[in-house]
Symmetry: C2
Amino acid sequence: MNDFLPHDHGHSFRFENMPKTEEFLAVSEIFKQLCDQTRIKIFWILCHCEECVINLSSMMGMSSPAVSHHLRQLKTYGLIVSRRDGKEVYYKAADTEQAQLLHKMIEKMVEISCPAAG
Amino acid sequence: MNDFLPHDHGHSFRFENMPKTEEFLAVSEIFKQLCDQTRIKIFWILCHCEECVINLSSMMGMSSPAVSHHLRQLKTYGLIVSRRDGKEVYYKAADTEQAQLLHKMIEKMVEISCPAAG
DNA sequence: ATTATATATGAACAATTATTCACACGTTTA
DNA sequence: TAAACGTGTGAATAATTGTTCATATATAAT
C-alpha cells in the first residue's frame, strides 16, 4: 500500500493485514449505531430486557416516531430483533456475536471512560 | 427507572446498573470517532505505525486539511498523539486503555462482520 | 359488523451537525 | 528568501435527528 508514499519513513510494515475499504466501511456502519447517545441507550436497554416502543419512548423522553426511527436503524443492522404481540411490538437485542460484542464494548468503555461510575 | 412506564410487562429488572445519561453521552462521543470510514481507517493505520499527515493524505486519497481535521478530532478525544519532527508532524495511536480497546474492537468486528476477510 | 381506541410505522419537512474542499496563514528547514 | 508541511477558517454539500401528520394493525366497545 505505501509503496508510493510521498515520504519514506523507513518502516517495513506494509499493511498486509489492513482491512479493505469495504471492510472499513462495513465496520464503520456498525459503529455508527453506537454514535448516537439515544441509540446507544436504547441498545443497552434492549440488551437487558425486552421492551415495547411506548415504554422505550417513555424511558427516553422522546416521541414514538423518533424511537421507532432508531429501532429501525438498529434492526436494519441486525443488532436487535422484534416480535409483535397484540397491539405492541417488542424489541430486544439480537442473539448474535456482533450484538454481544457491542454490548460488552459499551460496558467496558463506560468503566474505562467514566471511572466515577459505580 | 421504569417505575412509571406506560406499560408494566412485569420484569423485575429495574436498571440499577444502567449508566447515567452523561455516561452514555461520553461513550457515544468516543464511538463517534469510529463512525466515519475515513477516521476508522486513519486510526487503524496509526495503531500500526507512526505517520505524517502528507503520507496519511496520500493513503486516504484526501486533501491534507481533511485529514488534519480528522486527526484533530481523534487527538481531542485522546485516541492519538502527535510529535513534531522538523517540518513534519507524526501521529500515532495513544498508549491508553481506550485506544487499545477500540483497536481490538475494530479488528474483532472486521473478523465477525467480514467472514471472507483473510 | 362498525366504530373507536391504542400501538407502531412511514413520509415529508425543518433544523442541526458532519464532511470535505479551497484558500490563507504559521512554522520549520534549506 | 524560498519551499515544504501542517493547521485554521469559511463555504458548499451531505448526512443525521427529531417533529408533525398520515397510515397500518390489532384490540375493544357498542
